[in-house]
């Protein structure tokens, strides 16, 4: 493995922080602390800092809650790890996450993402309240609120991709941009 190649890629993509491995509660606490310090050092405006922090919490907790799905079903340890990178170019933060997903779950997730992407700011607000008030309580996070919240707070469409690995699993990528301007 060429470590310089990885370094160079990260440098060119303005990566502030990157991680690959198992996502634990303790890891998330540390990552959030590190990112807060970094944003303080970059003298980010409080408004921007809060937005990035909020979106980061939702993105990373999504990984945390869904990481085990594939491992449990496929009994494959390698699949219980995920990746994320946090970058900043210009005034925009970029959070990219990647994790395995069972092919049978792609349809449902894609439908939810497309639904969120089809809504404007006002519609997202109404949709959020509807899901908040009527949605099922779930041990795995907010039962679908996360994606709606990310779309509301960033004012951007959710960019995603499913890369098929084999007939059972795919690799799901979510690419989130956070900037100061609101749509």
């Amino acid at each position: 493995m060429d470590i310089y190649d990885i370094y160079d890629k990260m440098e060119r993509n303005n990566i502030l922080l990157s991680f690959k491995g198992e996502i634990t509660s303790e890891l998330l606490t540390s990552i959030l602390q590190i990112m807060e310090n970094k944003m303080d050092n970059l003298q980010e405006e409080p408004k921007m800092k809060k937005k990035v922090y909020n979106v980061l919490v939702e993105c990373l907790q999504n990984l945390y809650h869904h990481m085990d799905e594939v491992a449990e079903k496929e009994e494959n340890e390698k699949n219980s790890s995920a990746i994320f990178t946090i970058g900043k170019s210009g005034e925009k933060y970029n959070i990219i996450t990647g994790n395995y997903i069972l092919n049978e779950n792609i349809g449902g997730l894609k439908k939810r993402l497309d639904e969120v992407n089809s809504l404007n700011k006002e519609e997202l607000k109404e949709y959020y309240k509807k899901v908040l008030n009527n949605g099922e309580m779930s041990l795995k996070g907010g039962g679908g609120l996360g994606m709606i919240d990310i779309a509301r707070k960033t004012g951007e469409k959710l960019e995603y991709n499913f890369l098929e690995i084999d007939n059972k699993v795919s690799f799901f990528t979510l690419n989130i941009k956070v900037s100061n301007q609101q749509n």
Binding site: S25, T29, P46, K50, G142, L145
Partner: protein, 126 residues
Amino acid sequence: MEKYSIEGTPKTPSISFDLESGVLEVKGRSIPENSIEFYKPLVDALDKYASSAKPVTTVNVQLEYFNTSSSKCILDVFKKLEGINKAGSAVTINWHYEEDDEDMLEAGEDYQAIINVPFKMIMINE
């Protein structure tokens, strides 16, 4: 009567609920991975309080951050308060937000639209 209180952590808010004076305060960050587990004792304490609620119940919420998993639990807490209000204790929810935090103000307004209890939006100057 008793007082229910817990200390804040980097991921969970401090909670102080004085059942004697009818004042509930939630402050800090609410971003635990498992929110249901964290909020259950508070929901239970509210159930207990409901049977002997004071004529006036004041709720101060001052959150810096909260995740979507907490948002459901906070709604549950507010629904309990809605019941207490309906049963005769005058409940007010004071929702605090920092001056530049439009997202937090909007989150408070979302709850205000769902919950039938008087809300006050209170801006904090940093």
